[in-house]
Symmetry: C2
Subunit: 102 residues, 2 copies
């Protein structure tokens, strides 16, 4: 997915456990994120070992802050820490350059 510079990427790297309910919540959050102002797109992959990377793309830092503070997302974040994630890292990045093939 190609977007016009400048924009921002949120890299979410996480290690999941096997507890139930994650898929439903993840899908709900994805649908909700897509409706937020400034949301550009998302790429996500998880391996069989439970490690996954999700990168979401946003038009501005303000859009990222609003999504972080969205009430439903705040609840999902808390549940994530309580139930589903062994560990995670979040990095908010400004995309400086990009190139594509294919």
């Amino acid at each position: 997915m190609k977007y016009e510079l400048p924009y921002y990427a949120v890299i979410f790297s996480s290690l999941r456990n096997k507890e139930d309910g994650y898929q439903e919540m993840a899908l709900e959050m994805l649908k909700l994120a897509e409706q937020q102002p400034g949301f550009l797109g998302v790429e996500s992959v998880r391996g069989q070992d439970g490690f996954g990377i999700t990168v979401s793309y946003w038009s501005s830092l303000e859009a990222i802050d609003r999504w972080k503070a969205h009430p439903s997302h705040v609840i999902a974040q808390e549940l994530g820490k309580e139930k589903w994630y062994e560990e995670y890292g979040i990095r908010v990045c400004r995309v400086e350059r990009q190139s594509f093939f294919g």
Copy 2:
């Protein structure tokens, strides 16, 4: 993996085919990248559908440019386009903020 700000992330999102030789080259490139000045670390995951995300972390844009221009890496890039990748995107990003759990 936690690194001190500021630093840079290269997000490599790719769709692979099933052709042989990829794993060997990927491992060789990983070993070589780890030896480069300015390399901080890497996170990588690929799903069974062939879509994968690799994020490598670097201390500077100059370190990223040097790695991009490394002769062995240049050969690997060409082989990647000829043989292994259906499509890919590369985004060079400046990490602005980060947080970690667990």
